[in-house]
């Protein structure tokens, strides 16, 4: 169990600076949780970029071919629309490829994309074990468990977020709801859902990767074709999580971002200790 502690071996003895009082910091994230958190950035990026390239080979969402362009892919339609409406893109050489050129490895890269996707997928699974180990050793998993009070607390948080712009406009003080738990109910819901989405992504990934040997797994998600749809939308769960996640961390400040690097938070004194977002 000593695995959770080795980050805190101090370089020198205290007491050499008698003028400065010691400060208290709170443990926040286990070393393995921090590692897996940051490793997820390149791994997820690789999975999404290669995943959209794989999607290109046979889009799930298709319509009848366009009589003029022959295009049948809604994703490509978005690219065509972007090129037609965004200034400076009117002369883009291949509008149907715009999405794939900007959100993936590029069109027509199936072989390379599959190879990268498998590599990232195995790393993602290994990283998942690292994360679970970190949660268990650092006991952080308890902070993620849903509670009975979550629904009400989540509504309070939503009310708080909705109120921020009005409070700013009217220059009124708008207090963050008080929570003495590590995360507020919205954070907890997000941080609990993301590992679940990760697990489902892995499960649906295997279901469409090995639909014959693991046909029971594909059947669990409604068959091979349905498992592809699941897998596709689970990608959007991560994208829709990451956007507010990054914005809120940056809005919340350096301590919160730093705590995912160093593992501790200095927010144990002063009222800002309440506002741990992200």
């Amino acid at each position: 169990m000593s695995l959770s502690t080795p980050t805190y071996n101090e370089p020198t003895a205290t007491g050499t600076f008698p003028g400065k009082p010691d400060v208290l910091v709170a443990r926040k994230h286990h070393l393995l949780v921090r590692w897996s958190h940051w490793l997820n950035v390149p791994i997820m990026l690789g999975l999404i970029l290669s995943g959209i390239s794989i999607y290109w080979a046979s889009p799930i969402y298709q319509h009848a071919p366009d009589p003029q362009t022959g295009n049948f892919d809604y994703f490509a339609d978005i690219g065509i629309w972007v090129c037609a409406h965004v200034p400076g893109l009117h002369h883009y050489s291949s509008p149907p490829d715009w999405i794939y050129n900007h959100m993936s490895l590029g069109p027509g890269m199936l072989g390379a994309a599959l190879r990268l996707h498998w590599l990232c997928a195995y790393l993602f699974m290994l990283n998942g074990f690292v994360y679970v180990a970190g949660l268990a050793l650092g006991e952080g998993w308890r902070s993620l468990m849903p509670r009975r009070t979550d629904l009400l607390d989540a509504l309070r948080m939503i009310r708080y977020y909705i109120g921020i712009p009005f409070a700013r406009l009217t220059r009124r003080k708008w207090l963050h709801p008080r929570f003495n738990t590590k995360y507020n109910a919205l954070q907890r819901a997000a941080y609990f859902s993301v590992p679940v989405a990760g697990l489902l992504s892995v499960a649906t990934g295997w279901a469409i990767h090995k639909p014959m040997q693991l046909h029971w797994l594909a059947a669990l998600f409604g068959g091979y074709n349905a498992a592809r749809v699941w897998h596709f939308w689970l990608m959007w769960v991560f994208i829709f999580f990451v956007l507010p996640h990054v914005i809120l961390v940056l809005a919340d400040g350096w301590d919160t971002l730093r705590s995912m690097i160093v593992g501790w938070s200095a927010r144990v004194e002063g009222s800002e200790g309440l506002e741990n977002e992200g």
């Binding site: 101090e10 370089p11 400060v23 990026l45 308890r142 003495n180 014959m212 091979y224 144990v268």
Partner: protein, 393 residues
């Protein structure tokens, strides 16, 4: 000296007798009213939970030290003497509970010992607090942020370099789309691992799902390149080499149809591109052919070849794939002659195609003209183009 913290003392589920002892100590020090509150699921809970909430937090160094010492005695008595000088810096969680946020006067003497919740396994614990000198904290921050930065740069370079050459060229990172052998080697290793996993998953006894006629879906002509001219069909023959007899055998479609029992199956064909189709096939079992014409004893693979394939501009482009013999022997691996109850059309590989539904569609060679039984893994059209080789699904 490395300080070992007494984290075990915080374990809610103590497994050792020493843990149990410290738990009792902690339990004895619980404030009764807060214990009650944390037990209930009411919104009051959050107000009374000990925590990092700063305004509510009071820690007296002396008291914390005393508790840390208690913990040490409970769990790691041997290390006490060594630990003592360092304890100031590594204190266990010793947090007083103060429901009043405005309260700022220390209440060391008045309050009972710190409260730790150990009554529920999944209950969130108060954060562990560590007391450190500011310069140590700055050192930690500097060290960890620098290490993290170095790691981020290395990860960016490493992961970025694994992107396909064409993508890097499009991004302007490289100016020439030249192959990079070491990268290819590395990515192909990952591909081989996945192939090994697929091979380990394969079981010759596991039958794949079959469907009813009402579940049949349209199957498009996905000929790689151009569809061949049907003029090859009248002279078509299936050639077998690598047989135990040492002979080279040629069979025409009438030989095959008259000699072997026909089997029907409605199975899903899955393409590497992601689409799939449920189709009704009939033909002879590959396994029956292997019994009629046994391969040499050394043979582990079969090279499946179609000489009639064309590239997109209509030039000859012979197609060849590798197939492991265990998969060829699978009871649902057919040499199909009929599709939807009708003899195969040229679109679907007339007069005979390989139907191996436990592999990706690209191994299901149309218009097979030659089967060679070999000891070494033969070349594979798509493996040579950056795809995997085993392709078991």
């Amino acid at each position: 000296m490395k300080v070992k913290e007494n984290r075990d003392a915080l374990e809610p589920e103590g497994t050792s007798p020493t843990n149990a002892k410290t738990e009792q100590e902690i339990a004895a020090s619980l404030k009764p009213e807060s214990a009650e509150e944390t037990l209930s699921g009411s919104p009051r809970v959050e107000r009374s939970e000990a925590g990092k909430t700063a305004g509510e937090l009071e820690v007296s160094p002396e008291e914390s030290k005393a508790h840390a010492l208690t913990d040490v005695e409970g769990s790691e008595a041997a290390e006490v003497g060594e630990l003592q000088p360092e304890l100031d810096e590594v204190l266990g969680p010793s947090v007083d509970r103060e429901p009043e946020p405005a309260e700022s006067t220390p209440s060391v003497a008045a309050e009972p010992a710190p409260a730790l919740k150990v009554n529920s396994f999944s209950r969130e614990q108060p954060p562990q607090l560590i007391k450190v000198a500011p310069h140590v904290l700055r050192y930690w921050t500097r060290r960890d942020v620098l290490l993290f930065g170095a790691g981020a740069v290395a990860a960016l370079a490493g992961a970025g370099s694994l992107l396909p050459q064409a993508t890097l060229e499009r991004l302007g990172v490289i100016h020439e789309n030249k192959a990079w052998p070491k990268k290819e080697w590395f990515l192909n290793r990952a591909l081989r691992i996945d192939d090994d996993v697929a091979e380990a998953l394969y079981s010759e006894n596991r039958l794949i799902p079959t469907y009813t006629k009402s579940q049949i879906t349209p199957l498009k002509n996905n000929y790689n390149g151009a569809t061949p001219d049907p003029s090859y069909i009248p002279n078509w023959q299936l050639e077998l080499t690598g047989l135990a007899s040492g002979l080279r055998v040629s069979l025409n479609i009438r030989n095959l149809l008259s000699r072997f029992q026909m089997h029907e199956q409605i199975t899903r064909l899955v393409c590497v591109e992601g689409w799939s189709a449920v189709a009704w096939w009939s033909g002879l079992k590959f396994d029956d052919l292997l019994h009629a014409y046994p391969p040499t004893s050394q043979a582990k693979w079969v090279r499946v070849e179609s000489s009639v394939n064309l590239d997109p501009s209509g030039n000859p482009d012979p197609y060849f794939v590798s197939l492991d013999l265990p998969t060829a022997r699978h009871p649902q691996t057919l040499l199909a002659t009929h599709f939807n109850g009708q003899p195969l059309t040229v679109d679907h590989g007339a007069p005979l195609r390989l139907l191996v539904p436990v592999k990706l569609g690209l191994k299901n060679v149309k218009a097979v003209t030659k089967l060679s039984f070999v000891a070494e893994e033969p070349r594979d059209y798509w493996a040579e183009r950056g795809y995997s080789r085993y392709d078991g699904i």
